[in-house]
Symmetry: C2
Subunit: 328 residues, 2 copies
């Protein structure tokens, strides 16, 4: 049996964490041959509830699950961890301004960045899910001076998967046949779902699509899908977010499927005219545990305009938390 990989989950007693921990323990993220040790992190107020999650994980008798640690101590959770899933974040309170929310989370994620820097594996892969995810990832990365910013990412995979599913439903094909959709920019309502490069059964989808449907129906639907789920289910997306987290990490670790790419929010290298260092969602191909931005795509004018707007939002978010961004 291989050595276990240590996976830390913050916000582990929340709905996403609950949907996530059991699937990771079952081998869904890292494969049926890879033992795992879970480090479940929560704020002190809910550590008792986390103990209930721990009991249930034990009760599953998962063959791959070698250890579970529950804690409210960030350094204990991140100590030696190979993969850190930063799910927990401060939600917006009643009457709270967006700027206050950004700063409240910036404080959490700068502390987590410092803790990762201090105690995580030197090869740790970090995925930020808690919103505002892109800017939280920027802050965590900026506060982890000895780690490479490329070890950090923020999640747009749920939006990516939603785009694939909408395209498959529209063209009445299986999601297995849909490739090369992209989410550009910020994980927010300004995100840019882009199907201009998409393939269906290895043939271009764009000539088969009503472009008015894409602009007026599909893009807003994907952008506002989270709210629609809350309305129908009476609770925010949890199991689908957990599933996207596992897809994101699995592809990052094991590589993307041949001929396809995925969307990840990662530090920009200036590609496609986006400011270097900003955490922005791009189409990427993963190999050998690293991601590379897909180069040289022709960007249609309506998409270019949308990217400009989402990047402007990212710059504003960065400005709002500038005091917590250490020079790297």
């Amino acid at each position: 049996m291989k050595e276990p990989l240590h996976v830390a989950i913050s916000g582990a007693a929340g709905q996403i964490g609950y949907a996530l921990a059991f699937r990771i323990a079952a081998g869904d993220m890292l494969g049926s041959e890879q033992p795992v040790a879970l480090r479940l992190l929560e704020i002190p107020q809910v550590v008792q509830s986390l103990e209930g999650v721990h009991m249930e994980l034990q009760d599953c008798a998962f063959p791959l699950l070698q250890e579970v640690v529950t804690t409210s101590d960030t350094e204990e959770a991140f100590n030696g961890c190979d993969i850190a899933l930063l799910v927990g974040a401060r939600p917006r309170g009643p009457g709270q301004e967006r700027k206050d929310l950004l700063q409240a989370n910036a404080a959490i994620f700068s502390a987590q960045g410092r803790a990762l820097d201090a105690v995580a594996s030197r090869q740790v892969k970090v995925l930020v899910v808690g919103n505002p995810a892109n800017t939280n990832a920027l802050i965590a990365s900026s506060n982890a001076k000895r780690l490479n910013p490329q070890q950090f990412s923020a999640m747009t995979r749920l939006d990516h998967n939603r785009t694939k599913a909408q395209l498959a439903a529209r063209l009445q094909c299986s999601v297995r046949e849909v490739k090369r959709v992209t989410i550009w920019g910020n994980h927010s309502a300004t995100q840019v779902p882009d199907v201009t490069q998409a393939l269906i059964a290895d043939r271009p989808a764009w000539p088969q699509l009503d472009h008015g449907w894409v602009e007026d129906t599909m893009i807003p639907l994907v952008q506002q899908r989270g709210a629609a789920v809350i309305k129908a289910r009476g609770a925010s997306s949890a199991a689908s977010a957990a599933s996207a987290i596992m897809d994101h990490v699995r592809d990052w670790v094991q590589g993307t499927a041949p001929g396809d790419w995925v969307s990840m929010a990662i530090p920009s290298d200036g590609s496609y005219g986006i400011e270097t260092g900003l955490f922005c969602s791009y189409p990427v191909v993963c190999r050998d545990g690293r991601y590379n931005i897909v180069p040289d795509l022709a960007i249609e004018e309506p998409i270019r305009k949308r990217i400009k707007a989402t990047v402007a939002e990212l710059l504003e978010e960065r400005e709002a938390v500038a005091a917590l961004l250490k020079p790297s």
Copy 2:
């Protein structure tokens, strides 16, 4: 690609259903080569919430998930289904007597048995999870005259997994090394967790165990584990119950591991002196989609006494719902 198997889940918008549907769609129950179609059944009051679950399932872009149907119509849910997971049941209301609860559920499960009889696949496998699970399975089976009672089962796998985990923790070994634990009897507080036959790394566990610990600590702990989880987590076992459901069905369909057995509540054939036809948990080996009771085990006297008590409870439960048991 194979033809999809149709899996029906009752109570699909509840916490167990929510933990279950996504893992089945991911291939955790039937394997990574087996497409699935999900039929999600709920009472009319929560069908809208079920629609939110449907949206999230779509948003996962699961390659194996070919179709999702949400409905409050039992026959629509069970039409042609290959596997029926009967999770939904009436919980005990304030001040309600046990007998009233048995009868309320008997009405639900007799209707579901008739619907399965009318429209399910002739090879359907039925797992009853909703409590009182053994007696509900007996009622459903009795009302499905054209199906073999051996196509029905009730779940004691969560108790089985809990017993494995407690034994592994006590003997400081991996759950992978624990084999041949048994749950006898009713899925209730009278259940009998039996480790007298257990193997640890293929050697008998019994000589290594403090028998006082087994009697006074382990057995009550497993019997009352559900209440302990509720106390810690503030909610009843959901993800661990879902995981046990998948283990139960996977082993039933694909066969139990060589040298091991599992616990399933199934119609007694009179083995170990238990009344024929009663749904009772036994140690079973599964091969070719069928289960067989492990024969000729030597039963220790304390275990024999406990089995007598749990079977007496099953007989009482049957008596309370006698009016709804059709002659088979």
